[in-house]
């Protein structure tokens, strides 16, 4: 029942999501037509859900906390928000992309806006913006629900246990739950154990909402109909709603086989309070104002590693507080959104090294940088004619950053004499997307320009060792803002009575002042085995082009064949390949549905990495291909639903590593999984 409501909710979003630049993976709820979803259902990790999105690749440093890469651009060029809330990772080594601080049970879906057409709260998104939509029970849903998930995977003995419950009335709702994952070291193809790939994670969440305005009377039938069209219930007159969310997430004993250290603790506390007014008639639709706070504590640990030359403590802290206020309006022809946001973030990290017997060595690696950022975003989706629409979005943001730590400031001043204590930046973006739909085809073209300020690591990071190229990185406070012009286009045609549809999708980013680490031979590395030092600098220009081809063939109503090919190019200002650009990649699968049974047989692979960033310390990754099989069976008894999923990944137990496996750590070998979701 809830599942149905949610699917419809997603359907109502299609005005915004119909553009090819927007992609979504559904975490909870039965997959609707064309909706993406992990074969493992809710038991899948956030990383596995992310992997379903087109335009997204994942950088793996272990079996936990993968870093999403959108349009072949990493965290620096991608923004991640949780229900519109800004949150920033706390590890100088990127061990904790913010997607690692939520759990599947927290989420409704993950929304990706590709390129510069970002969601209203995102600032500095060049490659794209991810918004993790929290799962709220909503008003007038089923009065009481209990949901439980259990999962097991043979490879690494991954165990997953989750339970949540929801309660809903016309005036009030609440839902909450707990989730636990535990994994031992996994085995690569061939059976060799990958040491330091274990992890453990506990997550708890709670949401609640209350209607402040009195309930108007309306016929029962109409009420339940309107539930479908809006999660808030479609009641005549205005609605005032107060909503609170809370997430606690704690990962402990997390191994990172690609790095020199592991993580003892990564802990986040994420909370928000929102006030929403919804109109039912007239031009305005809703006005939501949300205040939020989150903090992250990240503690690295090398005490379990053998042969540690120098034991180090490297804690990091991030805390963010902010608000946004989003007003939406529509008049049938225009869908307008205006968003104001403001946040303050502080990042501090330091490092203490303990050489045996000698004095400890201490340095500040993120000098307690306080960032105050505020921005205004506007968007308008205009229906020009039947089948033609135009979306315009723009954002202007201003920020000021201050180095609050004296020692860190003094240290960086060695490299940048006369550097200031605070810096200001103005960034902006504007994007235009035109869409033409006919009965059997859809055409999209878009263009945009946008800029971003350097990240704290790029501007103020201090001797951050990067195991990818074995260089120590020093931030550069004098970096210019990076900007990009984006052009994109997509076309989709269906033929043979819609049995076959094919799609082409491409985008190109022409970046100016592209920020990347540059050799600084004059400097001596800090890390004992490091090759040297790089200082972040602006390349005059760089280019990233992504393209994909998709085909879907449904010869029978129960059988479908999907295939997707993608290819990307990244070049720096000298025409040399940029690092971490995906080689030719393909997936091909057959899915079948027979009554309540669904199945999928899949091939996935990458071609040999030909254009790799040799200059940037990248090595070529050979081609690979693996086979996966999965099945799902749903049993409904009265109100209860029981979903049983089983699958085998990497059936042939191939040993392989992808281009985005940090330091070429091998992927999982054969893995058999089973999981069970019960909905009461």
């Amino acid at each position: 029942m809830i599942a149905l409501a949610l699917t419809i909710l997603l359907a109502t979003d299609t005005i915004a999501t119909s553009s090819h630049t927007i992609d979504e993976v559904v975490v909870v709820a039965a997959a609707g037509e064309g909706r993406k979803r992990s074969a493992k259902g809710k038991v899948a990790s956030i990383d596995e859900h992310l992997a379903e999105l087109s335009h997204v690749n994942l950088v793996r440093r272990g079996s936990y906390a993968w870093e999403p890469v959108v349009n072949n651009m990493q965290t620096e060029r991608v923004t991640t928000t949780i229900d519109g809330m800004k949150i920033f990772y706390a590890c100088t080594d990127k061990m904790d992309p913010v997607t690692s601080y939520v759990e599947s049970s927290n989420l409704q879906s993950i929304l990706l806006n590709s390129g510069l057409n970002g969601n209203p709260q995102s600032t500095g998104n060049i490659g794209g913006s991810l918004d993790l939509k929290l799962r709220k029970a909503g008003f007038n849903a089923d009065p009481f629900h209990v949901n439980a998930d259990v999962g097991y995977e043979t490879n690494g003995h991954l165990q997953v246990y989750g339970a949540d419950a929801s309660f809903s009335t016309q005036r009030f709702y609440t839902n909450g739950g707990v989730f636990y994952r535990h994994a031992d070291n996994y085995k690569e193809g061939g059976g060799r154990k990958v040491e330091f790939s274990q992890f453990q994670k506990v997550n708890a969440f709670a949401n609640a909402g209350v209607r402040l305005s009195p309930l108007p009377t309306s016929p029962k039938g109409e009420e339940s109909h309107s539930v479908g069209s809006s999660p808030l219930g479609g009641i005549r007159g205005g609605l005032d709603i107060l909503e609170g969310t809370f997430i606690f997430d704690r990962a402990t004993d997390v191994g990172y086989p690609a790095l020199n250290m592991d993580v003892a603790k990564a802990e986040a506390f994420i909370t928000s309070l929102a006030y929403k007014h919804q109109w039912l008639g007239g031009f305005f639709n809703s006005w939501e104002t949300k205040a939020y706070y989150n903090h992250i504590t990240h503690v690295m640990d090398d005490t379990k590693r053998p042969d540690v030359e120098i034991h180090m403590d490297m804690p990091g802290k991030s805390w963010t507080s902010g608000l946004y206020s989003l007003l939406s309006a529509s008049n049938g022809r225009h869908d307008v959104q205006a968003n104001y946001d403001l946040y303050y973030n502080r990042l501090f990290a330091d490092m203490t090294m303990y050489p045996g017997g000698a004095a400890p060595m201490y340095m500040v690696t993120w000098p307690d940088v306080g960032t105050l950022n505020t921005g205004l975003a506007l968007s308008d989706c205009v229906r020009l004619t039947e089948g033609q629409s135009l979306k315009v979005s723009a954002k202007l943001a201003w920020q000021t950053q201050r180095l609050n730590n004296e020692e860190g400031y003094r240290a960086q001043e060695v490299f940048f004499p006369g550097m200031r204590r605070s810096y200001q930046q103005v960034t902006g973006r504007v994007a235009l997307n035109y869409q033409l739909s006919t009965l059997h085809s859809q055409l999209n073209v878009g263009a945009g320009w946008g800029s971003r300020a350097p990240t704290v690591t790029e501007a103020y990071g201090y001797y951050l060792n990067n195991t990818f190229d074995q260089y120590d990185y020093i931030g550069n406070p004098r970096l210019k803002n990076e900007s990009a012009i984006e052009l994109n286009g997509a076309a989709k045609f269906s033929m043979l009575n819609d049995q076959l549809s094919i799609g082409l999708d491409a985008n190109a980013f022409f970046l100016s002042n592209y920020i990347i680490g540059q050799f600084e031979n004059r400097l001596s590395p800090m890390t004992v085995d490091a090759e040297g030092v790089k200082v972040y600098g602006n390349l005059d220009h760089a280019t990233i082009v992504n393209s994909s081809f998709t085909a879907e063939w449904k010869p029978l109503h129960w059988l479908a064949w999907n295939t997707r090919l993608s290819y990307a190019i990244g070049r720096d200002d000298k025409g040399d390949p940029l690092p971490l650009i995906s080689p030719f990649a393909y997936t091909s699968n057959f899915t079948f549905v027979y009554k309540r049974l669904q199945g999928k047989v899949e091939l996935r692979g990458n071609g040999k990495q030909v254009n790799y960033g040799k200059k940037y310390g990248e090595t070529a990754t050979p081609a690979w291909v693996i086979g996966n099989i999965s099945g799902e069976y749903t049993l409904s008894i009265h109100k209860y639903a029981l979903t049983f999923r089983v699958g085998v990944e990497n059936i042939a137990d191939k040993r392989y590593t992808t281009y985005s496996d940090w330091c070429d750590i091998p992927q999982k070998g054969r893995n058999v999984y089973v999981n069970l979701s019960v909905l009461l």
Partner: protein
């Protein structure tokens, strides 16, 4: 008037303002145990307050403190109240016994540390700063000088100090007073020597314990051994340049960029700048060049490519 005076006192005492108003207002300053009534030999109330504040930041060396003619108390100070191997700043303050106020005019001369090397039954002195000068103009009653002690007290030998003092025509002295010299902790080595022909020179690094991560001023003195060795060693008259190469031996000899060599200043000290990228043990490898840019010490680039002449400083 009284309120105004009190307010000024509060302002001076609490904020440590160094500005000085008309003499009328100074009567508002009160320092325990000091009679601040007019005395031309002594500090004004404002000056006395500055001296008083300064001596709260240092500690008395009892062995080197004395009295002169039963009229004046002579107080010797160092940062810790003790002496250690290498460079030590010494401060002297003289008070009138009767009033407790600080005397402005006195001279400390002939400071002579002597070490008795018991096994060899030999005596030698050590590098000392030329004379004791007024510390700075706001504290006219504090005299500052330095000694750089070659060794710490041990089974090998022990130290004794002598100096002369003249206060407002009265003369006194401290003679062969035994005093302990502490060793520096592990990872600190602030005094090195080198030979040019038959001459021995000493490189005394000044107060590196004040250094912090970032850019620091590095100061040192070059002293020349005397003959006989029992005479304190004065500053070398030659003009050297001391090039520095700071390294972290525990971090694979990590180094920092843009260090500037120490060059001779008007006051006889050598000054340059040193960049320290983090705390921990820094080994500052030295290359000493003469006025003609010839290497006279260090710069020998051993197996690791680094000079064998170095100071160690642990932050």
């Amino acid at each position: 008037m009284k309120t105004k005076v009190l307010m000024l006192f509060l302002a001076v005492a609490s904020l440590g303002l160094t500005s000085c108003n008309s003499n009328d207002d100074e009567t508002g300053i009160v320092i325990d145990g000091i009679d601040l009534s007019q005395d031309v030999d002594c500090c004004s109330a404002e000056e006395a307050l500055q001296v008083y504040k300064f001596i709260q930041t240092v500690k008395i060396i009892p062995e080197l403190s004395t009295t002169v003619d039963d009229k004046y108390e002579v107080w010797a100070y160092s940062k810790t109240g003790t002496l250690h191997k290498g460079y030590n700043d010494l401060y002297f303050v003289v008070t009138k016994k009767k009033t407790g106020n600080y005397v402005k005019y006195f001279d400390i001369t002939n400071i002579t540390p002597l070490m008795n090397m018991v096994k060899m039954n030999m005596w030698h002195s050590t590098p000392v700063g030329g004379s004791f000068e007024v510390f700075d103009t706001t504290r006219p009653a504090v005299k500052r000088g330095w000694v750089s002690l070659l060794m710490n007290t041990s089974d090998a030998g022990s130290w004794q100090f002598s100096y002369d003092i003249e206060v407002l025509g009265s003369k006194g002295s401290v003679t062969n007073k035994a005093i302990n010299v502490d060793a520096l902790p592990e990872g600190q080595d602030w005094l090195k020597s080198f030979k040019v022909g038959d001459d021995t020179y000493y490189l005394s690094l000044v107060n590196p314990s004040d250094w912090k991560t970032g850019t620091n001023t590095i100061q040192a003195y070059v002293s020349k051994k005397n003959s006989p060795a029992t005479t304190p060693y004065g500053l070398a008259t030659e003009q050297f340049t001391i090039e520095i190469d700071p390294r972290m031996p525990d971090m694979g000899n990590h180094t920092s960029p843009d260090n500037t060599p120490l060059t001779k200043q008007k006051d006889g000290s050598y000054t340059g700048s040193i960049n320290l990228t983090m705390t921990g043990l820094w080994r500052i490898h030295l290359t000493v060049k003469d006025a003609k840019r010839n290497v006279v010490a260090g710069g020998d680039d051993l197996k690791d490519g680094l000079s064998s002449l170095f100071w160690d400083v642990t932050l």
